[in-house]
Amino acid sequence: MGRRRFAAVILIAAAAALAGCGKVTGTADLNALLTESWRAYSTGDFDFAEDTFRRAAGNPDATAEQRYGALLGLATTYHWSTSPDLSKARESYLELAELGGDQPRRQSVLGLAQIDLAEGKKAEAQLGLMQLIKDFPDSLEANEAALHLADSYCDPTWDEAQASGFALPSDEQMQRGIQVLQDRLESHPDNPLAGSMHVMIADQYIQLKEFPKAVDHLLMADKEGVEGVLTRVILLWRVARIAEKELKDYELAEQYYERYVDEFPRYVLIYRVMKSLERVRALRTAEES
């Protein structure tokens, strides 16, 4: 080979390498790719997320952990994108379970149960959620599973046979939902979703018009600590309002109206809260006298 030809070959090879033709994705690169994929998912760029998660899942150099992350990402993207593809999500969750290990299985079972719920297969979903709670009782996923399981009993369902288009749950079904959460709270009182569980129980008791029990659970939720502003605003108002209107417990009402004023002095209900505070104080004075 002449010098010129040799130089040309070297030049082309260098250009090809520079253009990325010779690039091999290493473990570190794959982690970066997964980060990019999750970021794309969280910012709503689902096409990009699906593409990159699929590439990462199919990469032969991926570690077991990376493959778990990629498959979970792929299943999550199919499941929760704005145009979900539940059958592909199901396939990916099943593939995830085949990886073995607790973590992939927990995510898989929870995801599959949520798909069943979305498809109206309540019985299958409930079985899966119960299994998850039984098999992995101390997991975070079991806490979430308890909430979905309770909701599956209490949630109204679409029913075109009804004039309204919906079938309401019976009181027994609602009590069953409440029981699921109470069992979970009894076995895992300090779980991080305990506040949400008490709020959900209180909601059911409000629907059932069992107001003393509703307030008890709202107070327990408050004790557990409710972080979100929206949830907290409603919690304080509810305790005060139900205490005033249904329980005639003006002391409790006053206490929670006062807390509302302290915590949310500019929130939309503040004027009603201040008026109510005046009213319950007057009622308390009248009672005492």
């Binding site: 709503g44 499941h79 309204s164 991080p192 972080e227």
Partner: protein, 554 residues
């Protein structure tokens, strides 16, 4: 042996081509070097571009002054305003974002119902989430009472105006706040009525009558209130909140403090609440009475036409927001006064007993919201500029210059703006008359009633028929669409759960503490699930109650 130069001389065309090519390269390289440093002559400065639709001269000058101050303390930065007219703003933003040519900072939120549904998608895709910054103090508050206060908590609304509910993240940096008031031609009102503006609805109607007479005496038509559909809504909503407040307690089945559109629609559908009930009828009769003092066909007029009528002296009053304070002042040849929309007094025989109080402004959120584009090369610098603009001192100066209400707590507003100070007292709207599915029928019937073409009885009957016909489908669609909100919560909870569960890349992709965020997302999810269940229950029970009864077999 011939040198390359000698060889080239044999091919003058090729020589010319090479010379032109080299010259072009020099020009391009020069432009690139200058472009990276900003405008010609600015050396190596970082250039921040800042797009908004506030074209009023006062606003532009005030922002220029803020920029000049910033550049003085940041000599390596140049900030440029890009002013885009309101009409084409959303289209422009859309194109710029998709083409990745958008400026570093963009004012967000304009565009109407279709655009409002698209903004959250834009935030998610093109803008920088600010969660990791809002809990840190604003460095430009050093030496003030907010030195150690998280940036978020320096806002009058705790930066609620920057929070995107659908994405559970902070994306916007609000710089101002706004309220709506009644502007009036003070010279004219002083002449016709006296110096004290009417405090009650009764006096207000009397004033309107006097204005009509005043116009007739001068041989020209004088319309008391410059109205368009937009301006009329301000009046309508004030009286709607004032007169339907008792329904807040009556219809709030789940004690969450509000009456949702479905809760209201269910009761109007079933007849548990009837349009002929005294407070509702009074609400409509009042606005019908008031509409006599608006221009003919006002529902079809747009906002600019109403402003024109007011500025030209054809009308004595107009409702609009504090954002127009300076521009109306500059453009008018008369003194402008500001007042609250007057409510009927308790003694008013027709309306008095139905008035609970004013419409609250307690929940208003910060406005003039700026977001930082994700692909900005100077995102950190843009953030720095917005922190500067939202610091206690600079936000006060900026808003004083713009004649707007500051977004930062304790920042002083101009004394002329005191009548715009947000009103904490009052109620939010309890009854939305245009329930899901009934919007079209309502919006067609209301102008007919207001213009006197149909009676109140016909209006109420027509609306009830529309509820019976259209609400079942509308409510179902509404509930189905809202299920997407629940999915949205789960979408974010899923990535947080993945991060907690150790999925590689998930934690690094998100800002903030995943455990805390996950807990908070689940709380919101539970609240929304409960709200949905309550709406369906109220709807289903109302539907069952109003279903035709099958006669018992004899």
């Amino acid at each position: 042996m011939a040198t390359p130069w000698t060889r080239l001389k044999r091919y003058p065309a090729l020589l010319l081509l090479i010379i032109v090519y080299v010259a072009a390269c020099v020009v391009v390289i020069g432009n690139v070097i200058r472009g990276s440093g900003g405008a010609p002559g600015t050396g190596q400065k970082k250039v921040l571009r800042f797009a908004h639709w506030q074209l009023e001269p006062g606003i532009r000058n005030a922002v220029d002054a803020l920029i000049a101050d910033y550049e003085e303390t940041h000599p390596d930065v140049e900030v440029r305003q890009i002013l885009i007219p309101e009409e084409g703003y959303f289209r422009w933003v859309n194109t710029q974002l998709i083409g990745r040519t958008a400026p570093d900072m963009i004012e967000c939120g304009l565009g109407g119902p279709v655009a409002w549904s698209l903004w959250p998608k834009f935030y998610a895709r093109y803008f920088l989430p600010l969660d990791r910054y809002v809990e840190q103090p604003n460095p430009y508050n050093k030496g003030t009472q907010f030195e150690n206060t998280p940036w978020r908590q320096t806002y009058f609304d705790e930066m609620d105006g920057g929070y995107e509910d659908t994405l559970q993240s902070y994306y916007r940096v609000p710089l101002s706040a706004f309220t709506v008031r009644l502007y009036y031609n003070k010279d004219m009102i002083d002449e016709v009525w006296g110096e004290t503006f009417p405090a009650t609805y009764e006096e207000f109607i009397e004033l309107c009558e006097k204005l009509v007479e005043h116009g007739e005496q001068r041989g020209r038509e004088l319309v008391p209130i410059a109205g368009s559909g937009y301006n009329f809504r301000q009046f309508f909503q004030t009286y709607q909140a004032a007169m339907t407040a008792p329904y807040l307690d009556r219809l709030d089945a789940d004690y969450d403090g509000s009456v949702s559109r479905v809760e209201a629609a269910a009761r109007l559908y079933s007849g548990q609440v009837q349009m002929t009930e005294a407070p509702i009828r009074a609400n409509f009769e009042l606005v019908r009475e008031l509409s006599d003092y608006f221009p003919q066909g006002f529902m079809q007029l747009d906002r600019d036409e109403a402003v024109f009528l007011f500025l030209q002296g054809y009308s004595a009053m107009i409702t609009t927001g504090s954002w127009d304070y300076q521009s109306l002042g500059v453009q008018s040849e008369f003194q402008i006064g500001i007042a609250e929309i007057p409510l009927p007094s308790k003694d008013n025989p027709r309306y008095g007993r139905h008035v609970a109080g004013p419409r609250t402004e307690a929940g208003i959120r910060g406005g003039f919201p700026m977001a930082i584009t994700r692909f900005s090369e100077n995102a950190e610098q843009a953030l720095d500029f917005l922190q500067y603009a939202s610091s206690l001192k600079k936000n006060e100066e900026l808003n004083q210059a713009m004649y707007w209400i500051p977004a930062i707590r304790d920042a002083e507003m101009r004394k002329e703006l005191k009548p715009f100070a947000p009103r904490i007292e009052g109620y939010s709207t309890a009854l939305n008359y245009d329930g899901p599915g009934v919007e079209l029928a309502y919006n067609q019937a209301l102008p007919l009633y207001l213009s006197g073409k149909i009676s109140y009885e016909d209006f109420a009957e027509g609306l009830y028929e529309a509820y019976r016909r259209d609400a079942p489908h509308g409510v179902r669609e509404f509930i189905r669409n809202n299920e997407q909100t629940l999915a949205q919560q789960m979408r974010f909870a899923a990535v947080r759960r993945a991060a907690i569960a150790g999925a590689p890349g998930a934690e690094a992709a998100m800002s903030g503490d995943s455990e805390l965020q996950y807990k908070s997302l689940i709380e919101v999810y539970v609240t929304q699930v409960a709200s949905r269940a309550n709406e369906i229950r109220v709807w289903a029970e109302s539907a069952a109650e109003s279903a035709p009864q099958t006669p018992e077999p004899e």
